[in-house]
């Protein structure tokens, strides 16, 4: 049995080796309705290795949709509910999603204050990504500074090579996992085989030019016209691998008072509405403008990289086809086609 991943069967065997590691939890793409999502698997056959692009993002593995923060028992003592997960592998993410996790690391674990809940899950997780052989109509990773073989955020990158994949250990964590499964690390990231995809993925706009333009466009009337069809539904935020805003709610679980955080979005009307009734972002256009500016300007200032990895899920998921790339081009580019 070869220790190289020469074809799809070998990929399945690699997955089986990961599952065989004692105590290891493996997250992989699985079928969900007509689409797919990342979830824990107990056998390699559950994994959807030929998944279509726009899978539900893996963000919930690191930041659950509803996450217990504190609990208070009947004695009134309040305890933190910091998770203590066993080792886990997130298998089969695309480079865009791995890059989104690198971004989330800067948000939650960077700066003066580290989020201990995120840190606990993150430290236990090793990320194995699958490089991309093809581009979907919705992909734009290169525009955001990523790429179909970008290693950012990955611990192991599986680079497409012929019918199989060439293994690249991007980090020490990745090398350790490769050693634990016995697979051969062949690639050092030089001379990757991008196939036809490399040439197709010319960036649509220059990020620096876009940021400069956005910073000067606060009062631009185009925000109203370009976002008029937006429903304010929030689907884009909830499907995004790098969105990170949350709300904190109190409730009860099995007789215990708990304080949890839940995913939230700046697209909801109530997000910035103050108790006095005043709202600095009263219209949908204001809120969508904030989304754009946050992802393509403020995040660059605060975290050194944009808050968007070009995965294209929002383009696919938006019920009214409000294409963020069109807005990027309107404000920052010469436009394509």
């Amino acid at each position: 049995m070869t220790d190289k991943i020469t074809d799809r069967d070998a990929l399945v065997r690699f997955l089986e080796r990961l599952l065989a590691i004692p105590g290891m939890t493996v997250y992989a793409p699985v079928a969900e309705g007509d689409g797919a999502a990342f979830d824990g698997i107990s056998s390699a056959s559950e994994a959807l290795l030929d998944f279509p692009g726009a899978v539900r993002s893996p963000r919930h593995i690191l930041t659950p949709m509803t996450e217990k923060l504190l609990s208070m028992g009947p004695d009134g003592r309040v305890e933190e509910a910091i998770p203590t997960p066993g080792p886990a592998v997130l298998f089969g993410v695309r480079p865009c999603d791995a890059r989104a996790i690198a971004f989330l690391d800067r948000v939650y674990a960077g700066g003066d204050m580290t989020d201990p809940y995120y840190r606990a899950r993150r430290d236990a997780l090793t990320i194995v990504s699958l490089g991309c052989r093809e581009q979907r109509p919705t992909c734009f990773c290169t525009t955001t500074g990523g790429g179909p073989l970008s290693p950012e955020g990955s611990d192991i990158m599986l680079e497409p090579s012929g019918k199989g994949w060439s293994v690249r250990a991007v980090s020490e964590k990745g090398r350790a996992l490769a050693d634990a499964t016995g697979i051969v690390v062949e690639s050092n990231g030089e001379n990757p085989d991008t196939g036809s995809i490399g040439a197709e993925m010319t960036p649509r706009v220059d990020l620096a030019a876009l940021k400069k333009s956005l910073d000067e466009s606060f009062d631009d009337p185009r925000w109203q016209t370009l976002t008029a069809k937006c429903l304010g539904c929030g689907a884009c935020s909830f499907i995004c691998p790098s969105c990170h805003c949350f709300d904190i709610v109190d409730g009860e679980e099995d007789g215990v008072t708990v304080r949890s955080r839940i995913w939230d979005t700046c697209q909801f009307k109530a997000f910035t509405k103050q108790a006095s009734g005043h709202d600095p972002r009263p219209t949908g256009a204001d809120r969508f403008k904030h989304r754009m500016m946050h992802k393509f300007s403020y995040c660059i200032d605060s975290y050194g990289m944009p808050g968007c990895v070009g995965c294209g899920r929002c383009v696919e998921a938006c019920p009214v086809n409000l294409d963020i790339r069109r807005l990027m081009e309107a404000f920052g580019g010469d436009g394509l086609e």
Binding site: D34, A37, R56, P137, K229, C233, G234, F238
Partner: protein, 322 residues
């Protein structure tokens, strides 16, 4: 009349309505940014009317964009017109403020149904002629009739022709209301299977409220789901809270839901909301002989009282309890 002909008729009509001042805005569709999509388009300048198109992907319910008090023209399918009928009854809109450009519809194509039918093809472009789609992007082009890849709501459509119409465009379609075979099939399943189906669907919900945002009849300024005093339903994704939200929303729509499917289409994770909304529509039809949006003059069943309303739920206190 085929798609291309209709597109130019719609554009001409829109330009005329705007330049004559009969509408401040024309709400229609323009070309989407990715294959198999058309996108809502709000035109205020007659010079832009040429952007309007009509094709097999014009599935959104445009009634959502009607603003009370604003004179609007809207390119309306049957389902859009049903929503307008109910909104007028609820006094959200004045009938005279809406110019309905009515377009009969045989149903819109569902990109996920296409993907399921042709797995492995990443569609790069679509040609459409006379109800036939030719998909490009695979090793060679493949064709499929629109009728074989319809949205679920379109397969079960009760109003293929607009219920109200000021300017008819396109050829009328033969109506054939299929009733509620979906509801009957689900109700016939054993209880534990129904339970499992509902749980499976609810487990996909993100509480993103895209369903509510897309629904033309969800018009409350202040939605019950956002209320904290009192908190009718907890936020977050615990299964019982998710179920409570969807059941409550469905109940608020009972007798008002026009079964357009906008909610299910908006859902980013594909939750099958028809399980609730179609069931309640069937129940309302059975109990009150009424179906939302099909009759301008019929009162809303849950907003009106008549002496011959069903009273089966009232037990005769003189009878022995069973």
């Amino acid at each position: 009349m085929n798609g291309a002909g209709l597109s130019s008729r719609i554009a001409e009509t829109a330009a005329r309505l705007l330049s004559e001042g009969r509408a401040e805005v024309v709400i229609g569709f323009e070309q989407g940014s990715i294959p198999m999509r058309a996108t809502p388009c709000l035109i205020t300048d007659s010079a832009d009317a040429g952007r309007l198109i009509w094709n097999a992907f014009c599935s959104n319910n445009l009634a959502k964009y009607l603003v009370p008090g604003r004179k609007s023209a809207i390119v309306a399918k049957g389902c859009d017109s049903r929503a307008i009928v109910e909104l007028v009854k609820e006094r959200r809109l004045k009938r005279e403020d809406v110019v309905v450009i009515g377009v009969p519809c045989r149903g819109m194509a569902d990109p996920s149904a296409i993907a399921k039918r042709f797995p492995g093809i990443c569609v790069s472009s679509v040609d459409e002629t006379d109800g036939m789609l030719t998909l490009h992007g695979g090793p060679e082009p493949v064709s499929v009739p629109v009728s074989e890849v319809l949205h679920a709501s379109c397969r079960l459509c009760a109003a293929k022709n607009p219920v109200i119409c000021d300017i008819p465009l396109g050829d009328p379609v033969v109506e054939n209301d299929p009733g509620f075979p979906d509801v009957e099939a689900f109700a016939a399943l054993p209880a534990d299977e129904r339970c499992a189906r509902v749980e499976a669907e609810m487990s996909k919900c993100l509480r993103c409220y895209a369903c509510r945002s897309a629904c033309p009849l969800c018009t409350c300024e202040s939605c019950f789901a956002d209320s904290s005093q009192p908190q009718w339903v907890a936020r977050g994704t615990h299964p019982e809270d998710v179920l409570a939200f969807h059941v409550m929303r469905a109940m608020h729509l009972a007798g008002r839901c026009v079964e357009c499917g906008a909610c299910a289409r908006a859902c980013p994770t594909g939750v099958d909301l028809s399980i609730f909304n179609r069931r309640l529509a069937a129940d309302v039809a059975e109990l009150f002989g009424s179906r939302a949006g099909l009759d301008e003059n019929a009162p809303q069943p849950l907003a009106a009282y008549s002496m011959d309303d069903s009273q089966d739920f009232i037990l005769d206190p003189g009878r022995n309890s069973e």
